[in-house]
Point group: C2
């Protein structure tokens, strides 16, 4: 029981020195790598840079205690930072103490929701974010974030939370472009793009092993940060107007207590829910992919508790909403992390930096951070996916397109809500008008298929109707109409066999419809039979009066119905002739 | 084209004198019968009694032009009146001009929504009100209405829109019971219950034909109205404190123009939508039942236009929201109506009454109307249905119980919304965790079933996995987990055959999962095959790269897969042996 809720107990007792060495190395590498992005994502959310560091310390420890992934690295991530910024902009002004308070309240609410969802075992809810919706949301968010960073790269104010606002604001300020900032930002951007595109191949050509080449390539941002910071310091560019990180309060994260404010909390409820779900989906899908590679198991419900714990901790240690981040997790994994202890080492490392080394970050230019965010975020933008989805399914494409459009024009919350609603609506619409086929027997077999697609034999006095959907309230009346039209159109019909191989559920509304169909067919002197009713559906039907009232029989297979009714047809034909 | 939108053109050219005679008789009978209920339902909605008459004149003409049912009678009905009252209470005070204006705005909005839904062909949306939700809603509404009428029967004020409020208010005023009112109300109630229970049988025992006996039984309320009105007038009971209808303005309905008020309209949007949908469902399901009896066809989308037109007309003629009413339609049908012209005659009849005969209604006691409402409404309360639904399906029962409870405690709007949301949620939850069965061959046949339920043969090196659900975003990951667990649990496995007989759809998310399953099985040296993929699903798959990457084959039938792979298994077994 304790092990279930504290997964640390499953691996800590077997912790060895060898594992420790691997985790320690990974922890050091992660510390160095994630400092720039932690600062950058805090700024992206409109928060002071140091908040990003605070959110990368204690929340990691909470996840280590509660999480089930061995390699997931928790902290501020781009999408959640974007959503945090959008949510907070609605309730407070950046730079004010209220804004900081709201960030804490958001972390707290998000943490509470994740913990509650975990305790209620609602991990499955994440599945309702369909792949096209997630993919569309990430693409649109990537574009939004990139547009937001363009101002920092050019040294102009910029602003706005929709793409149009951002582009208009950029266009208006374009004449104020600050050239030294653009030099640093543009230079960093070009360097990072080059490293990402050619780095790994070049390093391998120099004879480096793949692992090391990958890790060095990923350290491109660190190099850019070090070089531009030194340049800015030596040339005194901050006095020339290049925006830098500036003073960062030294010391460990303070203990914070998010106050209760019912108006604020109510305003943040929906954003907190969306941040929780999106963060959870992003985190758990990546963790599952990595777990599968190492043949480890992951518990989505326990992951909810782990991420919930991390967010609660963030709320009490001056942080911001966090989740498992793609880039930091990949760094952790590639650096050889073996257990969550790597996270503990990374937390200690970042804690040390916060305690002692923040003055070194004074001259770090914001433009460099903007360049690292831009390069990282553009990997989320997946344009080929649009074409692929269009080819495969118009419905899925619609969900994706609506998510992208609304995220870009109306903001992240409305975008994702509309995407989810639309994809559920489309699924319900599809199931409300099920595909029905009048099937015939593939000659020489016991297999029945659609005559429009296969050569089949049919019987004149028996209709074999296959309904390709569970029968439930949304399509119950449709089934009624289909069967009654069929009977009206074929006067010679004596038997209707409803093939239920695709019927996985018959709910109370559909049962009413079946009752009605049975009664009407009786009036028309047509007998209703069922075939291939599945076990669970049959069990259910036995709890109703339907089987007693049914005019015909329930056949085990369509072929059994064919054999039986074909014979009766012969009698009938003989009698008629 | 014109005929499609004006169904009157399909029957009016063939109208004969014989049809006219039948319709005229039905029109006269309906006029007499529906006057009490029209008055009563207007009062139920908190409106002056005459509004019920107005709403039974011009809206009938609009429906005659646009509707497709031959026998549907449109007018104020109990449920819609209850919902109207609840909606208006939120925005105005009964008895004020604002309240009347709000009623017009509600009719207008409801009419607009119905017309828009009809033009957009959204008639199918009504199917999302599942049978248990409707049944639960009607039961709860019936109880609410009955409790609301108790005050009128006792001659005490009463009030409130939830059952608790109503009962508390009744209990508080019980000592003020007005005995003459109770005598009239209680007497009418006892008479109506007796007529309903024993009337038809007694009259038939007296030798009357079934039809006439039925019609006479239904005229019980008219008799009660006439008798109690005469008694009240002769004994001057109104001066003794018995509430009567009183002065009704004489004359045809005035032309009204609902003014545009954005605050009011916004507040009424959701109630109008619910009234439209509930009214439409009530109306169309009854009309379909009657149409089927006479083998006529009904177009749900055109019905939306017909009811929409009726509500728009109500908005412009001092009316209230209307729909096809159960009792007035049954009266119309039993009285022998053959075409919608019967509705025209009824409209003329009620118009005449409004023009000239309203003084006769002065002494009609409210308590008598309360008694007629109570008796009519209690037929909606369907308690055995609760037990039946519990027996058949716990999920459907939950939707029903929640609808009842919330309708009683929180009001009609929240009740029905919660019921719909819950039933959709339950369906999605069910489909998100599909039933999966490892099937085997029923010996001597080509049929495959679950070994837990049937005697079957299986193969050690081939798993036949039948997934009993369409594959879509909500269950894509679940399928991945199921297949991978299966492979992990059976090391000897060489082939997995996914039987897709119940898979009616594979969306883009599920396609991703299938891709992932295929890739992982390849790594584990297990071959993935598909069997019984349906035509439409196969067409879709051909638009993706999945079939090129698939390790195995797509078999027409499970038996074909069995024959093919069993042979390979023999080779393998031989090699192993």
């Amino acid at each position: 029981m304790l092990k279930r809720y504290l997964p640390i107990l499953t691996w800590l007792p077997h912790y060895t020195r060898r594992l420790c060495a691997a985790d320690l190395l990974a922890g050091i590498i992660v510390t160095i790598m994630v400092i720039p992005q932690s600062l950058a994502y805090a700024l992206l959310a409109g928060l002071p840079a140091v908040v990003g560091l605070y959110a990368s310390i204690l929340p990691l420890l909470a996840y280590t205690l509660l999480g089930t992934s061995r390699t997931l690295a928790v902290g501020p991530v781009a999408i959640v930072a974007l959503m945090t910024g959008a949510a907070l902009a609605g309730v407070a002004t950046p730079g004010t103490p209220e804004y900081l308070q709201a960030a804490l309240a958001l972390s707290l609410l998000s943490g509470l929701m994740l913990v509650l969802m975990g305790l209620a075992r609602l991990g499955f809810m994440a599945n309702f974010l369909s792949h096209p919706v997630i993919s569309g949301f990430l693409t649109a968010s990537g574009l939004l974030i990139a547009a937001g960073q363009a101002g920092h790269l050019l040294g102009i104010p910029g602003g706005g939370y929709t793409l149009l606002e951002q582009l208009l604001s950029l266009a208006g300020d374009l004449d104020q472009t600050h050239w030294p900032t653009l030099a640093i930002g543009g230079g960093s951007l070009a360097f990072l793009v080059a490293v990402r595109r050619y780095g790994q191949a070049s390093l391998r050509r120099l004879g480096l092993p793949a692992n090391l080449a990958g890790l060095l390539t990923r350290s491109g941002p660190v190099l850019a940060v070090v070089v531009t910071t030194l340049v800015t310091w030596r040339l005194g560019l901050d006095r020339a107007g290049v925006a830098v990180i500036g003073e960062i309060p030294r010391g460990l994260p303070p203990l914070t207590l998010p106050g209760f404010d019912s108006t604020l909390w109510r305003a943040l409820l929906m954003p907190a829910l969306l941040i929780s779900v999106v963060g959870f989906v992003e985190s758990v899908s990546m963790a599952q992919m990595l777990a599968a590679r190492r043949r480890e198991r992951l518990s989505p419900n326990q992951e909810l508790l782990g991420l919930g714990g991390a967010n609660l901790t963030a709320a009490f240690s001056a942080g911001m909403p966090v989740t498992g981040g793609l880039s930091r997790t990949v760094i952790n994994y590639d650096a050889g992390a073996r257990t969550p202890m790597a996270g503990v080492f990374a937390a200690l490392g970042i804690g040390l930096v916060t305690l002692a080394l923040t003055p070194w970050l004074y001259y770090l230019p914001i433009a460099t951070l903007a360049a690292t965010i831009t390069v990282a975020i553009l990997t989320l933008v997946d344009i080929p996916m649009l074409r692929q989805t269009w080819r495969y399914s118009r419905g899925d494409f619609a969900a994706m397109a609506v998510t992208i459009l609304l995220t870009l024009t109306e903001g992240v919350e409305l975008g994702i809500l509309a995407g989810v609603t639309l994809s559920i609506g489309l699924f319900l619409y599809r199931t409300s008008r099920p595909h029905c086929a009048l099937v015939g027997r593939v000659p020489g077999t016991e297999h029945f298929r659609n005559p429009e697609r296969h050569e089949v034999e049919t019987l004149g006095h028996v209709a074999f109707l296959r309904v390709d959907e569970s029968l439930y309230f949304a399509n119950a009346r449709y089934l009624e109409d289909t069967v009654l039209e069929l009977v009206a159109a074929r006067p010679g019909l004596e038997h209707v066999v409803l093939i239920c191989s695709a019927v996985n559920l018959i709910d109370a509304s559909a049962l009413e419809s079946l009752d009605a169909i049975n009664a009407r067919l009786k009036e028309a002197e047509v007998t209703l039979h069922l075939a291939e009713v599945k076990g669970p559906v049959m069990d259910r039907l036995k709890h109703s009066d339907f089987l007693d009232d049914l005019g015909g029989r329930v056949f085990l297979s369509t072929y059994a119905a064919w054999s039986e009714l074909k014979g009766r047809g012969a009698e009938h034909d003989a009698a008629a002739g």
